[in-house]
């Protein structure tokens, strides 16, 4: 472990404010820190980081399918502090039967499309999101493509191809 000083100060603050909710802290590549928190406090933690540590820049929100029987899905927030010039990954694990998280669009406008993409690809519902529609797939698509059980070539017939008879004029 080789955590830099500003990182360590942030982690100490989080551990003090949310005892027992900060589940795991990992240093990665000598440049960043990955913090895993309990799903109940993820919005509070992000709000604390935003307000107290100047993490005003959201780079990414993304999900992963860990394909485990417990805590299968993971949602990761990649944020950057412009004051301290450090970045942090905040992640949380979700159960397959309860894929609900509070939205972070109240903190970062950039979270809007990012959360829509996570919803599109994994089916995570973000409560309070202003416009939770699919990002890439059609609205009536019934599957979540980045889940591990989804076949790479897709479900045949699940997306409509154009009609091969030319458009005729309306009656």
């Amino acid at each position: 472990m080789n955590i830099s000083e500003p990182h360590q100060a942030i982690i100490n603050d989080l551990q003090q404010k949310y005892p027992d909710k900060v589940l795991d802290v990992k240093e990665h590549a000598g440049a960043t820190v990955i913090v895993r928190v309990n799903r109940d406090v993820v919005h509070d933690v992000l709000e604390t980081l935003y307000n107290d540590h100047h993490f005003i820049y959201l780079l990414q929100v993304f999900g992963t399918d860990r394909f485990t029987s417990e805590n299968r899905f993971e949602v990761i927030y990649h944020i950057f502090s412009l004051r301290d010039q450090v970045r942090i990954f905040v992640k949380t694990w979700l159960e397959e039967d309860n894929l609900v998280l509070p939205t972070t669009t109240d903190l970062w406008k950039a979270a809007n499309w990012q959360e829509r993409e996570v919803y599109d690809m994994f089916g995570v519902q973000f409560t309070g999101h202003p416009d939770l529609r699919r990002m890439f797939m059609p609205e009536d698509f019934e599957y979540y493509p980045l889940r591990k059980e989804f076949p790479p070539l897709g479900i045949p017939g699940s997306i409509q191809l154009p009609s091969t008879t030319p458009d005729t004029e309306e009656d």
Binding site: M137, L153, Q160, P162, T164
Partner: protein
């Protein structure tokens, strides 16, 4: 050749099919449906080095209503397929289609849920070109094949 001798100097007789096919084959105006890196090779095909104008195809029309040949250059997603089909439907008959490169022909390396595995799933393709991307020579070859195909066409009257 009784008729030609009756007409005198400066006339020749031929079949209407031959004239129509000759003029169509030497003025195949392409509709460049450039979707990915194949489009770069398609531009080289139209440019001075490979020079599609030798075959009468230098007029790249970005309006489907003025073009005869759709060159599907690149991989097409399900989302794009509707737009491509719409453009194709807007092109006036007679029209021809080239699937340029591995992706347009078969989906290529994009073995993915979002990519149509070959644009012949929704278009009547006349010529397929292999390669990733194909050289402009290959596209010229496909154009010549299409010209051969046009020259073999005949009118409905002879279909019986």
């Amino acid at each position: 050749m009784g008729l030609e001798s009756a007409l005198g100097e400066g006339f020749l007789t031929t079949k209407l099919d031959a004239v129509v096919n000759w003029s169509r084959a030497n003025a195949v105006w392409p509709m460049p449906m450039g979707l990915a890196c194949c489009a770069i090779e398609m531009m080289a095909f139209a440019g001075p080095k490979y020079d599609a104008s030798r075959f009468g195809s230098e007029v790249m029309r970005f309006s489907p209503r003025q073009s005869d040949l759709m060159i599907v250059a690149g991989w097409c997603t399900y989302k794009m397929s509707h737009a491509i089909r719409r453009v194709w439907d807007q092109m006036p008959d007679p029209k021809w289609c080239v699937a340029m490169g591995a992706c347009a022909s078969t989906g290529g390396m994009h073995r993915s849920y979002g990519v149509v595995q070959g644009c012949d799933n929704f278009l009547p393709v006349d010529a397929y070109i292999s390669g990733c991307p194909p050289r402009p020579d290959s596209l010229l070859n496909a154009l010549i094949k299409i010209q051969d195909k046009i020259k073999k066409e005949h009118t409905v009257l002879l279909d019986k």
